[in-house]
């Protein structure tokens, strides 16, 4: 049974229909990259998966549990689906470890000592255990993003959503963030990434989904998809980004 299953998802912003019926099944441990031009609906799809956007039609299930339409409280959602953003969105007035501990303590009501232990563990995983007491403003973009990943992991989610997590980074800092994601993939974390890093999509993901005009236009294993695109739209897209 699929870990995430999306059925007939529709979403409009006013007159503009951004998602025109998305069907997608993702297995536990799968790494799925969603690619496509801006405006193709890929970020909206990702944001529907943790209900930052409410879709108009369709259903989302996590394992056998309904996730959308208020079936899960925000607290439950955050323990199932984590999210990392393009602009990091760390809380500037909290230190690295406070950023990571906040949701476990406040939302999950984990005792502080236990939350600290978990925080130290996930910060170690992303290679940020040296900087636990630093404030976000004292960190580089790459370091901030790694903390943001740790912050999402601290809730022990089943799926991690990554929304263009390297797009705001200086080129020399992209590698350190991608390496963390690779490690997570290797450990069996279910990752759904909206990305412009085609090399990463090709080398790390199990499946690539190409979105075009609010629909999944083509999807498949990265090798086939990138070397033998079936549709002219994907062919064109690949030519424009590589």
């Amino acid at each position: 049974m699929a870990l995430v299953s999306v059925k007939d998802l529709h979403k409009s912003f006013g007159e503009l229909e951004v998602l025109k019926g998305i069907d997608l099944e993702i297995e536990a441990g799968e790494v799925v990259s969603i690619i496509g031009r801006s405006g193709s609906g890929k970020s909206t799809l990702l944001r529907c998966l943790n209900q930052l956007e409410r879709h108009d039609w369709g259903t989302i299930h996590l394992a056998d549990q309904r996730l959308d339409g208020g079936a899960m409280s925000p607290g439950e959602l955050s323990q199932n689906v984590g999210m990392v953003f393009q602009s990091f969105n760390l809380f500037p007035h909290k230190t690295v470890i406070e950023n990571v501990m906040l949701a476990p303590v406040v939302v999950k009501q984990t005792p502080k000592a236990e939350a600290r232990r978990i925080a130290e563990q996930v910060l170690d995983k992303v290679g940020m255990s040296e900087k636990v007491d630093a404030y976000p403003a004292q960190l580089s973009g790459g370091q901030q993003q790694r903390v943001a990943i740790a912050r999402a992991l601290a809730m022990n989610p089943k799926v991690l959503l990554c929304d263009e997590v390297t797009s705001a980074l200086d080129p020399e800092l992209v590698g350190e963030v991608l390496r963390v994601l690779e490690d997570l993939a290797r450990e069996g974390m279910t990752l759904i990434l909206v990305t412009h890093e085609m090399t990463f999509a090709r080398d790390v993901s199990h499946r690539v989904v190409f979105m075009h005009q609010g629909r999944i236009h083509e999807s498949g294993d990265p090798q086939t998809l990138f070397t033998q695109p079936r549709t002219p739209e994907l062919k064109q897209f690949i030519a424009s980004v590589v």
């Binding site: 925000p74 607290g75 439950e76 969105n89 760390l90 500037p92 906040l102 404030y135 976000p136 403003a137």
Partner: protein, 227 residues
Amino acid sequence: MTLDFSTLLPYADVILEGLVTTLWLTVVTTAAGITLAILVAYARDGSPTGSRRIVSRLLGGYVEVTRNTPFIVQLFFLYFGLPALGVPISATVAALLAMILNLGAYTAEILRAGIDSTLTGQHEAARALGLSRLQSFRHVVLVPAFSRVYPSLISQCIIVMLGSAVVSQISVFDLTYAANFIQSRNFRGFEVYLVVTLIYLLLAVGLRLAFEFVGRRLFAFRQGGSA
């Protein structure tokens, strides 16, 4: 005319009593006024619906009425108006209430500017982590919002401290009342008001320094750079 400050010496305890009153009025007002402002700002935050919308409108009315009427009229309204409605109120309580309501309204508006400038990404990160609206307000929004408007907040608290001089008009024994009292006894208006002016000046400077001291600790996160 010769200046003779020694004529004030017998009244030192009067000045001290007035000073103590002004000080505690200021301290209590600052604490209660900022707390009130936080509650008002929270209630008015976002786009409230249903019953929250009514509360938000009422609070908006309170803020506007307070910001668009003279403080002394507000004070008189509480002191003379409430007893007329059958609610007896002492001068001190009326003064304190007027000051708190006044600071609360101005600070709520100052704070709102800070809250409104919170980046969308902060709200989204909080939501994605499962924080409720209240948790997000308290743990994510509030401190950075305060840090952005802190200079205006300091000025507002100083204005209220200085404005407290008005409460002498309803016979609250504050620093200004003390000055009026002494002047009416020894007729040394210049000396008395010079001394009291200096005390107010020192209070204002002291209050600012205290606020800045607290601010440096509270908002230490800003020193690392801009985030």
